[in-house]
Symmetry: C2
């Protein structure tokens, strides 16, 4: 009998690790969560992702799949008849979901990270303006993709919801640290409403860390002396 | 009647633009090639890709699709019954193709570009070692993916062949400029054979630039004073 066990190598605080966990929850696929210790890499991780040596890795039987968004697509395609579709069915909508998911990792998240690195008020202001600009693009993308429904993917959460929503915990922590509201309901009303609904989704709730717990963790890791 | 015309906004020398052109050739989809002038951006490009303002853009009727690998997936899904499948059918093989395609853009190509930027023999040696390491990984990936067949995708070229193969013109130009063989048949025999077969494929041949022409173009653009 083939070994069909599903395992995720990851860590609770990583937004990238949340992605396959949410996807597996959506598909009602049980999995074992193998947590890495912060600051070190297990033998299993190094063996399973020798190229990037990064979490998350999905182990499906003895087969490893790496890179969070690629794992989410793999989950959608492997358990295609179980639970809702994660990717939209229409090729154009799929292309849009992939486009914005890439934008979120390459541009939006990079700008978000820069907020905490900014030195001085001037630089902080510049970075915040960049995030605001990205938010405005994503607000428009939300209205285009959702077509009046609660999620980017329509009636239920999907690929782009997961790609963006996985960062909401760290967004709240960044808001706390920066003393500045980043997802502002007056500027991005659709995204603000979406964020609340996303976090309350039964596939998301069990894996989305509490802001206070994540803030505590952030304090600990950022307090470490840099090499 | 819906406007189903297909256009590619691009430039002949761009490896990223080659990707959707090869995909459309594989699917026997006729298209109009709208070439941008080097150093400027047309109104149509700015309107069609306002986020990144980059080529290639596929226009399908009035709908723009951006980002080369996303366009290739869009072409495969839209003309699914015409020509061979570009993505493998098995979810695991698809995940592998996506993984290595991302690796090629994020790691391999970055290392290739660094060859020409390297200053001094020491730095050049370091960069060449990095490319060689990446080549060795891709040689192994080829043997794993192709399962004894001529292409990453099996009997015909597919997603990963296109993602990697689109760089072969610039690889030859870089070899010429660096005076160093980068894809060496003694070190990467499978990739060397694959590269030759890829360039001779009827879907590739009409869009793959001659090395001499591309080298001439490279000389011209690299001679421009930097801002």
């Amino acid at each position: 009998m083939a070994n069909d066990e599903v395992k995720i190598i990851g860590a609770w605080a990583s937004p990238f690790v949340m992605r396959p966990r949410i996807a597996l929850n959506l598909k009602s696929v049980p999995y074992e969560f193998l947590q890495e210790t912060f600051g070190s890499k297990s033998e299993l991780l190094l063996k399973s992702n020798p190229v990037h040596k990064k979490i998350p890795v999905l182990l499906h039987g003895d087969k490893p799949v790496c890179e969070s968004n690629i794992i989410v697509e793999y989950i959608d395609e492997t358990w295609s008849s179980s639970g809702p579709s994660i990717l939209p069915s229409n090729p154009y909508d799929r292309a849009m979901a992939r486009f914005w998911a890439a934008y979120i990792d390459e541009k939006w998240f990079v700008a978000l990270r820069d907020i905490l690195k900014a030195e001085g008020e001037e630089e902080k202001k510049e970075v915040l303006a960049k995030v605001e600009e990205a938010n405005a693009l994503l607000e428009k993308a939300f209205n285009d993709c959702s077509k009046g429904k609660p999620f980017f993917n329509g009636d239920h959460i999907g690929y782009l919801d997961i790609a963006f929503g996985s960062f909401l915990g760290w967004l709240r922590v960044t808001e706390l640290a920066a003393g500045h509201k980043i997802l502002d309901e007056t500027k991005t009303p659709s995204l603000s409403k979406w964020a609340e609904q996303f976090c309350n989704d039964p596939a998301v709730k069990p894996v989305m860390p509490e802001t206070a717990t994540l803030a505590e963790f952030a304090k600990k890791i950022f307090a470490k002396p840099r090499a």
